[in-house]
């Protein structure tokens, strides 16, 4: 068997049919995306998608109006009624918050239910390195910056869903 002198791996590795299939999936994905993007970048597609959106919104509007009429006939609050109520509630909520904030300012009260506060005295690593020169010189900082196990848990290249 022919081996690479440095790595000891076969110099002429056998073709892995599954690796080839994975590569084919990736290449096909790129090519098809390219073809679709060229097609969808045309004025014809923009016009067609505009018509589709127009039809979809009209259908949605008709559905909403019909549902509203039906709910009114059944003497049940519609979404519009609930929204109006929610708007009034939000307004009351906001007014209450403004009053609370004013009160807090007036009596000089600090925020309540605050967890124990850590000291806000942390210095950047560069300054800490200067202060602890001998130790810092042997400690690569960015390796430490990655949370333990983060590489393993992130799941590879992962999907790029949107």
């Amino acid at each position: 068997m022919a081996d690479d002198r440095r790595t000891g791996k076969p110099a002429n590795p056998p073709p892995d049919p599954f690796a080839m299939w994975r590569e084919w999936v990736t290449q096909s994905e790129h090519q098809m995306n390219k073809v679709f993007n060229e097609m969808m970048g045309t004025e014809e597609f923009a016009r067609a998608s505009g018509s589709w959106v127009e039809a979809m919104t009209m259908f949605q509007q008709t559905m909403n109006e019909n549902a509203q009429r039906y709910l009114q006939m059944a003497n049940v609050p519609t979404r519009t009624d609930v929204s109006e109520l929610a708007e009034r509630l939000t307004a009351v909520e906001e007014r209450l918050q403004r009053i609370e904030a004013l009160l807090a300012t007036a009596i000089g009260r600090k925020e309540q239910n605050r967890p124990a506060r850590p000291a806000r005295t942390r210095r950047p690593p560069s300054e800490r390195r200067v202060a602890e020169q001998p130790e810092a010189a042997t400690t690569p900082r960015l390796i430490d910056a990655v949370p333990a196990g983060a590489e393993a848990k992130s799941g590879g290249a992962g999907p790029e869903p949107k």
């Binding site: 081996d3 049919p17 918050q97 850590p118 690593p125 990655v146 848990k153 992962g158 869903p161």
Partner: protein, 384 residues
Amino acid sequence: MTTATAAPGAVSTPGEQPAGPVNPAPLDMSGVAESVRREMERTFRRSVKGLEYISTGDPGVGLTAKDIVHSRGALRLYHYRPRVDEVYRTPVLLVMSLISKPYILDLAPGQSLVEFLLDRGFDVYMIDWGTPRPEDKRLRLEDYVLDFIPECVEVVHRRSGEPDVSLVGYCMGGLLAALYAALCPDAASGGRLRNLACFTTPVNYDGMGLFRTWTDPAHFDVDRIVDRLGNVPPQMLYASFNLLRPASQVAGRVRLWDNMWNDEFVVSYRRLQRWAADQIPFPGECFRQTTKELQQQNLLMKGEFQLGGRVVDLSSIRVPFVHVVAEHDHIVPYEAARDLVGMVGSEDREEIMLKGGHVSLVAGRNAVRRLWPRLEEWLAERSV
């Protein structure tokens, strides 16, 4: 050099010459057999794991401990509980996009930018815009930039006791943060803003590729959509994002099946897929405003974009500024994002281009290795 007949694992000595003519090495078919055996084993595990995949729910997301310190309508301001005894003086406020949920920055332990920043000594807050309700259809960019963000910044100030704050915005959140920075006074002028970091933030909408074509006013009547529907339904946004890379949906499913034996891949896939599908409605008036004034007329780039009666001049941003862009971003292409760093007026400003896409820039293995340490480094120097 060893010959094809040498025992496996035999190692040649340096300087050894071939004894005769060199023949092409024959293929080692035992490797193919091994590959087939491995795939057979994986196929069995795929079947078992596939059943598990169908029968179990989505993994939990956004689990880092936090308190809701302010709420208004759908908006929630989170303060994440500190995880170290000593933090940097300046708190960090994360600003999310209006069209996606904020847990992409806090996916899971070990995959959370929030957790990373906490562990590296930052005091972290986040604005979650929530899910817009029907009555939120009247919200405009003015509400977000001139009302909600300043209010949250004040809450952070009151809670932390610190006079200033660093803003970090992702995607459209970066745009909101930049607009706030341009229109509200910074820390040096009696305001609260100390540093500004934006990730993949569009400013030149001529560079928005297919989105630009699809929203051409000749074919896309935004007024009719908003007048009819109020808020723009999430399905419409999700469909438009998917259309940018239609084949990737199929390829993603194929890769999921291929990696079904790998628990880590599956969990990561499900978390990201859940986030991608977990779209929220876009407030109607805000959609009308961004589509007409930014997407169709590109007013921000022309220096004619107005909010609250004031022209937005990004050159009035003077605070330290960094813009991180992704090399393979298909949602906000580089052509749409590259002008931002040149438009701000800060002396201390830089653009960092990292490998990856729109999502993998901030979440996943690449983000852990690339963006997060760079952000920590940049913020740490400017947060004391």
